[in-house]
Symmetry: C2
Subunit: 302 residues, 2 copies
């Protein structure tokens, strides 16, 4: 079964009609369109960002009815294979992202994707580590639910480890589960700090399994070692009693280091952090101050 990327929707809703029925154990190939739903092109510039129609943002392909799935079951999704498009985009969208106040202006970079690298800026590329930003099932509560926030039913999880070789386990909330996916990234860092990764089209091959009455409370992932970073890194820190403030502080400090060491513009450094740096909670127990660190491989800084 091969599903085209035109079969999308933009809200989670238990009353959507499924576009296909999948039997547990089946493999399917799903095309997804980029998070901008084709509104940006390789020729787009920052001036095109404010004109985006946000009602079309983050389309997902689906929903798929999983035969026999019932609330309380676990959906076991193996991501067998995934290819991404030949280009991607990364943007600073006003009002969206971790540092919206520092970066009020739209900014856009279009990456050429080739040879397993995405060239974010001329001469600055990141390895392609494909991932599915949004994958989830319909919540049991009726009515449309925004596609933007993730929930215990999955959705816009933006977990960069959900890519080839990974297994995702989701709780089923409604009969048939109603699985959808989209929002592929060619690269992203833990945190996705500017709000976008390298946004791109993708084709994903999945195997869908079902475990009766085995729903986890929240999504569970088995990760693939290909998602590990391998190089020495620079880690900046945020220290304080609020993890969100600490995450912003660590990210701000990383942007400062990138700018000081490479001469990049701050907005480009923010994008680079979003697609290549990882936010880690270093400690969350030494009351009353916690530590968040933002790690970027040193190779980007030389």
């Amino acid at each position: 079964m091969h599903i085209k990327r035109t079969e999308t929707h933009n809200a989670w809703d238990r009353d959507l009609a499924p576009i296909a029925v999948i039997a547990p154990g089946d493999e399917i190939t799903v095309e997804t369109t980029d998070a901008g739903d084709g509104q940006l092109t390789p020729g787009s510039t920052a001036a095109d960002v404010p004109g985006l129609d946000f009602s079309r943002i983050n389309p997902v392909t689906g929903p798929f009815e999983i035969e026999g799935a019932r609330p309380g079951d676990a959906l076991v999704i193996d991501i067998l294979d995934m290819s991404v498009g030949s280009w991607g985009w990364t943007a600073c969208i006003p009002g969206f992202g971790l540092l919206t106040e520092e970066f009020p202006d739209p900014h856009l970079r279009v990456s050429t994707i080739a040879d397993d690298r995405a060239e974010l800026l001329p001469g600055l590329s990141v390895p392609v580590v494909p991932m599915i930003g949004t994958i989830g099932v319909a919540p049991p509560e009726p009515g449309p639910h925004s596609i933007v926030p993730p929930r215990r039913w999955g959705g816009n999880l933006d977990i960069r480890h959900i890519g080839p070789g990974a297994r995702l386990v989701l709780p089923v909330g409604v009969d048939g589960a109603l699985l959808s996916l989209g929002d592929a990234h060619a690269a992203m860092g833990d945190g996705e700090v500017c709000g976008t990764g390298v946004e791109t089209d993708a084709t994903v091959r999945l195997r869908i399994g079902l475990q009766r009455d085995a729903a986890p409370k929240t999504p569970v992932v088995e990760t693939d070692p290909r998602t590990h970073r391998t190089g020495a890194a620079l880690a900046t820190t945020g220290v304080g009693p609020d993890l969100m403030v600490a995450a912003a502080e660590a990210t701000r400090a990383l942007i400062t280091e990138i700018v000081n060491r490479t001469g990049l513009a701050a907005a480009d450094a923010y994008l680079l952090a979003s697609v290549a740096a990882d936010l880690k909670i270093s400690e969350v127990v030494d009351v009353p101050n916690w530590v968040v660190s933002a790690h970027l491989e040193l190779a980007y800084l030389t």
Copy 2:
């Protein structure tokens, strides 16, 4: 210069007399005592945990005056080498840790450390990745400051990447900087969820440098690749509008998975998560819900 582990203090204070003076560029060897200040021994049990004298907790060796250091300078600390003791302890201390309500009882595991492994439980060992839990300089504000919380001056940062091969850059807050360190761990996960790693004595060889007027706002680390995890992992998640709640939810889900898959007692699973699992901020931008994931290598679960 070789400093014995008896030269400790238990609060940050700009008025402490330095135990030694170090010239920028010098190498020193510093012994540190474990975070319990020797109150626990290889024969200790959970029953000894409530009797710990907390006024002695987390001693640091120092302070060292760095010759010529002035407020606004950057202290550049290269961790050249580090060895840990032959045993360590990991405890659940009532009232301390991320999940204090679920784990109200004291719990203790003593690890034998040999051949670069720490045996947390019979037959369950973790690789030794030595790190310095507490390293910092005196805050400029007068008076004693608790050793427990980290601050922008460093201290109990519990960043597991501060180990051999790493470089730590700290802002200098007072003349002479007044550097101290202690609280070594043979192993720890990002987050240190139960509040302790594999707590142990250590001997650390450092080179101390000084950069004039180059203080970072918060500590900065250059990490060593030896701190990377390499295996496939299980990642549980917390999803919601508060990162702390999400971190607890992800940790709780990981403990459930460990218990279900291995039959370990929940308290042991909590300790294992604290010394071997990593908390990552997967996304912090998809308003209003953020995702924290807790990653533990699958090798621990077979």
